[in-house]
């Protein structure tokens, strides 16, 4: 009997410990998460860095499945994604014409164009937050640029940001945000695929994967006739991020 009571007590204690552990875990986890998500406005560089990073990451997430475009105009619908044609010809039997030969520069511009307004809003929020805290804020014009590199995205923001409180002035001229992204690597592979499609009407993706095992490439022939297109999905094996590109090259009409 005593043994039975003891057992029950032990179970209750274990239960309480587990419960407490769970509560503590979530508290800590939440706090950590809050700490990462919301840098204090008293640290304008971090605030803007995170803002630009989030905005650029969001833009990239939109662009990746859409062939590198935020709003594709001429696209092929593939798995519910509008994949913009990187290389295209409307003719049959002809190799495609590159639609965005300076693809990397295009991606940089696309990101910049998309985050420009968001970053500006962040500055406005930062400004009003700081004003609420008693700062006087003087902001100049913003010049924002995105740079893609192997494994990273860098957003450089040039803006005079002067904050004054109690006669103490702090002046910030440059903000920057660097974060990891496979976009550049994927885009280079995408461009190589389109290049070979334009040149040879074909890209040997199995051979490519053997030489460059960082990438997983899937090719799909979709549609027929005027809609006959090839969709290549390039996956970075380390991050599992995927870029779709659409090509219409050397298409053959059905029945003619």
């Amino acid at each position: 009997m005593i043994k039975k009571r003891g057992q029950v007590t032990i179970f209750i204690i274990i239960g309480i410990i587990i419960l407490a552990g769970i509560v503590i875990y979530f508290l800590i986890a939440n706090r950590t998460s809050i700490g990462i998500e919301t840098p204090s406005i008293s640290d304008p560089e971090s605030y803007i860095e995170k803002c630009a990073r989030d905005a650029a990451s969001d833009a990239i997430d939109i662009m990746l499945p859409q062939g590198g475009w935020i709003d594709p105009l001429h696209y092929r619908l593939f798995e519910n994604n509008k994949v913009q044609y990187l290389c295209y010809t409307n003719l049959f039997y002809k190799s495609c014409v590159f639609q965005e030969p300076l693809y990397i520069a295009h991606l940089e511009n696309e990101i910049t164009g998309n985050i420009d307004g968001k970053v500006d809003r962040c500055f406005s929020e930062l400004k009003s937050g700081l004003i609420d805290e008693g700062y006087e804020i003087d902001m100049g014009n913003m010049d924002i640029k995105t740079e893609l590199g192997t494994g990273f995205v860098r957003v450089n923001i040039d803006r005079n940001f002067v904050m004054t409180k109690h006669g103490e002035t702090r002046k910030i001229e440059k903000f920057k945000s660097i974060f990891n992204s496979p976009l550049y690597k994927l885009a280079i592979v995408g461009q190589e695929i389109a290049n070979q499609e334009a040149k040879f009407c074909y890209f040997e993706y199995v051979g490519f994967m053997l030489l460059y095992s960082d990438f997983n490439i899937v090719k799909k022939n979709v549609g027929s006739g005027l809609n006959a297109s090839k969709i290549y999905t390039i996956e970075d094996r380390y991050t599992n991020k995927k870029l779709n590109i659409a090509v219409r090259s050397c298409a053959i009409p059905p029945a003619f």
Partner: protein, 1267 residues
């Protein structure tokens, strides 16, 4: 004076017996010449067995008339360039009729390649060091700042910036341009290590297998394994050569451990030291071997270096090798047993039990182990041609797939749908004498068009010789001695887009190539009845229907065949006078719906590289002569296939017994001769009169007539006829009648017809859902596959991740039929329109006049297939023909209709019992009974009646010429003096020609016209050889006379002749067409191969000062040059083809055959040229000091640069100090005795040495030293 001789003419001499004999002899001589001509004519006239392609033979003639290309379909039409499309695309070519609709900006009246802004070239991205091919100039030079070069291929010989080398980036390598290497090195903060001497990607990648990491020791004695470049970038010091951080000799803080690790970018499992560095490759036997922790051991000297499977699953050795199928992974992730030390293992990347044979719906039939990187072909059904070359077997809806094994995962790549791509596989290769089993597959373009094109090359083409394309086979039709021919057909025929009405109407023309009529000839049996004399096998379904259906099926999705589910339908063909396909053949077809083990399109490994696609701009054979430009041209071109089919005449000579008359002499001889002539004529006429078709009997009757005639003639001439002649004549006639009764008589031929039409899916949609079952994505549903499963199957959500094949809704009602007003020919009206039918009449309400070209039609309120019959029937299946000969499910149904005159019908009718009144009665009551069924098989049971009455009556209008071949005002080649010309008339006629316009009867030359009894929708053909032509313009006049069956009869006067001649002109070219120049010529040098060159051909003379189309010969095909494919017209005398790839030629001597044609002339010339490779860096031949300058001389023109610090010359050429002299053989620099010059030189192709061209150290007392 000479005495005049008086000749006395006596009456008795003129009218006497001897005179009579003389007159008779003269008469005999004259008459016998006619008789002889008649006999020869009759003897040489073939009997009426022939292969008839009724529809396509007409099309083939039109094809000949317009003579336009088949391939490519779009590129050969006039193209306009749109600089900016409505969907924001840049520089796209559109057909001129389409361009304005698609373009938001200017539509240039030329193709983009000929436009300054849109010309495609190489776009060099200097900031990234990337070269982009096929880039429009305007896009490249946009504000993003590319540099555009006029070479669409980015060939390094034209754009040297695009030359790639090996860029070493720490332990990684990339095969990139030097500018890109600089960018990537900068990102990693590494000094540039660009190895220009490595010009092969494989060689570069191989550097990755070398472990270049060495101990990089920090000031606090910590250590990292880095490349020298990384170490220098990090701490400014070199690594310790060959040593590991764990080396005792280095005295670092790093020591051996019992752990292992994987390294990013590397395949192997490594020991890990206590600092976390990857040491040597894991080898459990060496864990305590101090030496193994001292120095770097090369992979090739590590454990299991020769393992064929890359030490997969080895517990003791971590020498994994990706290309052998293994890679470092955690043993749990790899699902393997724990290794002896650590947790990393060489994971197996192969695919165990990979699907090998999979049916169309994803059900795996057999499996096979596959290596990492292997790819293989998987098919939906049986493919290609069977062993006996009888037919192409790919079933409707089927597709080819390429499967591949990558890192243990099977990937599925569907080849292009509609079998526009075929999967071809090589199962291995011999490497250094050892057979390596490694499958490698590609989806490559199915060149089915080239097979069809072979049949357009003319009647005399040897199919066995010409039909050698790897996708083609010779389909032999050998039904009977009078019905056999060859056709070049695709091994994997193309699929039709059943949902596209336009495409299917075109597809009908493809199928119609197999529509053929075989004429079976009969002879009369002794004692009554007829027996087959020729082509009897055409009456046997097991031979005729089977072989014709095999041909039909081999051309495309035509005929009676099966879909991927094994469902057979036979609405793709009809036969007349013979049975349908037997069940055993249908069962055999059904077996083709499953893939066959081991059946692949096999290719050599060596050939795989060339099979990825067709050469850029080769355009799958843009041959204006043999290939087409527009759909129309293609369609018509297909008709020309008929020309190529060998027609086997079944003519048998009748008589020709001219020697019969050579009997006796004098009057007897003459009498016998004329008697024989008359007798043979009578005999010949009797064969016709009695309808004798058997050649033997016909000959016997002619001979009997001849003999009897000769005897009677002889007796008459010698005056011995008396009462003998009449009995002889009577006996002869009796013999002939007996022959006629027992062995001759009316045995009309029978025309057996096979009509080939597009295959139709089964009615309804019961099986649509099967398409969605592709288990685990091994097979995919597609529009083509879906629509093959049923008429009511619909493929929805195309492009989404929810693509589905669904069944359309059945409304359960029959299609509603109404008259189609849109297609009705002018001057005709629909009358008495009710829901049960309508009448077609001339606008004035009268019945339709003979030979009036009438087109009428019906509409259905939903897509429906319609059939007709001239008599009432009980069911849809009983009905004889499809409306307008189309079995397609359409909304608008059209029927061309040409009513022959009553006279023609009677003249050509086989049945002598049919009277004019009968025909007139039929004409007055001509009714077309129609039924239509929708995709579910709902149909109108009560026939819809179309009343089309014909108006009998005297023909009072002259015929007219509807077309000519060659066209009027055509150009002819230089030195042409005669030309075979064909004309087409609107009604049967006989025609004549003259160089002056005169009455028909006065014209000197006749056309030979085809049998007027043969049906002709587009006109009756006559042909003649127009001769005596001279240079320049030649004018001819044609006139025709109708009702040729009245020729020589008492009703000749009823015939109507043209009162005015048809003015026809042909222009004979005054100078020949000449190919003046071909580039390349001589030697073409490249810095790297493959390279490209532009083919240029200049022409002069000919029809219009050298304006022509030029072709180069590629394999068996003539390929139209790029410059000439932009217009239908001959526009230029300078022709080019850019981007010819040297990979398709030999290094060394080459020959390229060129042909140019200007519509009248053809010119041929060969281009002979050498391709030479210069991949050797320039050599320094001399170095000296002169006048305070360092001089170096090189063996070829080059530019040189030097560095004073890079001992191995690993500096980028552009970063070196440029020597003076430019691009010459002499280069100078200032003389500085304090310096060592590390010099490298590169030639025009950017060939650089892998190290220095020369190293020069200057001394005061000696000129210089170099090494």
């Amino acid at each position: 004076m000479k005495e005049k001789r008086v000749v006395e003419i006596r009456r008795e001499k003129i009218l006497g017996k001897r005179a009579g004999i003389t007159y008779l002899q003269i008469f005999i001589l004259i008459l016998s010449s006619f008789a002889f001509c008649y006999l020869v004519n009759e003897a040489t006239k073939p009997l009426s067995i022939e292969v008839k392609n009724e529809e396509t033979s007409i099309l083939s003639k039109i094809w000949e008339i317009i003579s336009k290309p088949i391939f490519p379909l779009v590129s050969a039409t006039a193209l306009n360039c749109c600089q900016k499309t409505k969907s924001d695309d840049t520089c796209l070519d559109y057909e001129s009729s389409q361009c304005q609709n698609e373009c938001s900006g200017t539509c240039l009246p030329t193709s983009c390649d000929l436009s300054a802004d849109c010309k495609k070239g190489c776009c060099y991205d200097s900031s990234e060091g990337l070269c982009i091919v096929n880039s429009p100039k305007v896009k490249c030079e946009s504000d993003l700042g590319g540099i555009w070069k006029n070479n669409a291929e980015c060939n390094v010989n034209v754009v040297p910036e695009c030359r790639s080398g090996c860029c070493v980036l720490g332990s990684d390598v990339q095969f990139v341009t030097s500018a890109r290497c600089q960018k990537l090195s900068g990102e990693k903060n590494l000094a540039v290590d660009f190895r220009a001497g490595i010009t092969n990607e494989g060689e570069c990648i191989a550097l990755r297998f070398q472990d270049m990491r060495r101990a990089c020791i920090f000031s606090d004695s910590s250590c990292k394994m880095l490349t020298n470049n990384e170490c220098r970038s990090l701490i400014g010091r070199n690594v310790v050569p060959n040593y590991l951080c764990s080396s005792l000799a280095l005295n670092t803080t790093c020591r051996p451990s019992n752990e292992t690790t994987c390294l990013e970018g590397k395949d192997e499992v490594y020991f890990k030291d206590t600092c976390g560095n990857a040491a040597n490759i894991y080898d459990s036997s060496k864990i305590n071997n101090k030496d193994y922790w001292e120095k770097v051991i090369d992979k090739s000297e590590g454990c299991g270096a020769s393992s064929a499977n890359g030490n997969v699953g080895s517990k003791t050795c971590g020498n994994c090798f990706y290309l052998s199928g293994s890679k470092c992974k955690d043993y749990k992730e790899a699902n393997m047993e724990k290794p002896d030390i650590g947790e990393k293992i060489c994971a197996d990347l192969s695919c165990k039990q990979a699907p090998d044979l999979v049916d169309a719906f994803g059900k795996v039939i057999s499996k096979k182990d596959r290596k990492n990187g292997e790819s293989w072909c998987v098919y939906d059904s049986a493919i290609g041609v069977d062993d006996k070359n009888t037919m192409s077997r790919d079933v409707v809806g089927s597709r080819h797939y390429r499967y591949s094994c990558i890192e243990g995962e099977v990937k599925v790549e569907p080849c292009a749908d509609f079998r526009n791509e075929v999967c071809t596989e090589s199962t291995g290769a011999t490497v250094n004498g050892t057979r390596v089993e490694f499958s490698s597959a590609v989806c490559r373009i199915n060149t089915w068009q080239s097979c069809i094109e072979v049949n357009t090359r003319g009647a005399n083409v040897d199919k066995e010789e010409e039909c050698k394309g790897e996708d083609c086979f010779v389909k032999k039709i050998t039904i009977d001695s009078g019905f056999k021919f060859d056709i070049c057909a695709p091994k994997s025929k193309e699929g039709f887009d059943l949902s596209s009405e336009g495409a299917m109407q075109t597809a009908e023309q493809v199928c119609k190539m197999a529509t053929q009529t075989c004429t079976v000839l009969y002879k009369k049996k002794p004692f009554g009845g007829c027996v087959v004399a020729k082509n009897g096998n055409c009456l046997k379904a097991g031979i005729f229907t089977k072989q014709m259906n095999e041909l039909c099926v081999s051309l495309g999705d035509c005929g009676g065949y099966v879909n991927i589910d094994g469902d057979y339908t036979d609405s793709g063909y009809t036969v007349k006078k013979v049975g349908k396909l037997a069940q055993k053949f249908i069962d055999e077809y059904k077996s083709y719906a499953k893939p066959v083990p081991g059946l692949k399109v096999v290719t050599d490994m060596a050939n795989l590289a060339g099979q990825f696609g067709f050469p850029v701009d080769a355009g799958a054979g843009k041959d204006k002569e043999s290939g087409g430009g527009s759909n129309t041209g293609f369609l018509l071109g297909l008709g020309a296939v008929g020309i190529g089919w060998a027609m086997v005449p079944a003519s048998e000579s009748v008589a020709g017994i001219s020697g019969l008359g050579v009997l006796g002499g004098g009057a007897g001889f003459g009498g016998a001769l004329i008697g024989a002539g008359i007798g043979m004529i009578v005999g010949g006429l009797m064969t016709k009169l009695l309808g004798v078709t058997d050649p033997g009997i016909a000959m016997a009757m002619t001979v009997i007539g001849g003999i009897a005639g000769a005897v009677v003639g002889y007796l008459a001439a010698t005056g011995a006829c008396g009462g003998t002649c009449l009995p002889i004549i009577i006996i002869a006639i009796i013999i002939m009648l007996i022959l006629s009764l027992f062995g001759a008589g009316k045995c009309p031929p029978k025309k057996v017809t096979y009509t080939c039409m597009p295959w139709q899916p089964p009615a309804g949609g019961a099986d649509c859902e099967k398409c969605n079952s592709g288990i685990d994505g091994l097979k995919t549903c597609s529009k083509y596959k879906c629509q093959s499963l049923g008429q009511a199957c619909e493929f929805i959500n195309e492009g989404s991740d929810n693509e589905l094949c669904i069944t359309k809704k059945n409304d359960g009602r029959a299609p509603v039929i109404t008259p189609n007003y849109g297609v009705l020919s002018s001057n005709f009206s629909y009358m008495n329109v009710t829901s049960a039918g309508f009448s077609v009449r001339e606008s004035n309400g009268k019945c339709i006049e003979a030979f009036s070209p009438l087109v009428f039609g019906i509409n259905t309120d939903k897509a429906a297939q319609c059939k007709i019959d001239l008599k009432p029937t009980a069911t849809f299946d009983e009905m004889e023909d499809y409306f307008g000969d189309s079995n397609l499910y359409l909304y608008n149904h059209t029927m061309p209709f040409a009513i022959p005159s009553v006279e023609l019908a009677l003249a050509c009718g086989n049945d002598t019992n049919v009277s004019e009144a009968d025909v007139m009665n039929q004409y007055k009551n001509l009714r077309i009974y129609t039924r239509c069924q929708d995709i579910f098989g709902n149909l109108n049971n009560n026939e819809y009646l179309v009343d089309v009455c014909a108006r009998p009556g005297p023909d009072r209008t002259a015929p007219y010429i509807t077309g000519t071949n060659p066209l009027n005002n055509a150009n002819l080649g230089f030195n042409t003096t005669s030309k075979e010309v064909e004309i087409y008339t609107n009604e049967p006629a006989s025609c004549k020609w003259s160089k002056q316009d005169k009455d028909y009867d006065l014209m000197e030359n006749s056309f030979v016209c085809e049998d007027f009894c043969e049906p002709a929708v587009f006109g009756w053909k006559c042909a003649s050889n127009l001769n005596n032509m001279t240079k320049g313009e030649n004018t001819f006049y044609f006139r025709c006379k109708d009702q040729p069956w009245l020729e020589g009869t008492a009703n000749e006067s009823k015939r109507n002749a043209n009162s005015q001649g048809y003015n026809y002109k042909l222009r004979v070219t005054e100078t020949p067409l000449v190919i003046d120049r071909i580039i390349p010529d001589g030697t073409v040098t490249y810095g790297s191969l493959p390279g490209t060159f532009d083919l240029v051909v200049d022409t002069s003379g000919g029809v219009e000062n050298g304006k022509a189309w030029c072709y180069y010969k590629w394999g068996a095909n003539w390929i139209l040059m790029q410059s000439d494919s932009v217009s239908w017209d001959f526009v230029s005398n300078s022709h080019f083809q850019t981007g010819m790839n040297t990979a398709n030629f030999n290094v060394g001597a080459n020959s390229l055959q060129i042909k140019c044609t200007d519509g009248g002339n053809e010119a041929y010339k060969n281009s002979t040229f050498n391709i030479q490779l210069d991949n050797i860096a320039p050599l320094v031949t001399r170095v000296y000091n002169s006048g305070g300058s360092l001089y170096i001389l090189t063996n070829e023109n080059s530019e040189c640069a030097y560095s004073n610090s890079y001992q191995t010359c690993s500096f980028l050429f552009e970063n070196g100090t440029q020597m003076n002299g430019g691009f010459t053989q002499e280069h100078t620099a200032s003389w500085d005795t304090q310096q060592t010059y590390y010099i490298k030189c590169r030639d025009a192709w950017n060939n650089e040495p892998s190290s220095c061209s020369i190293r020069v150290k200057a001394y005061n007392d000696v000129a210089a030293s170099f090494w």
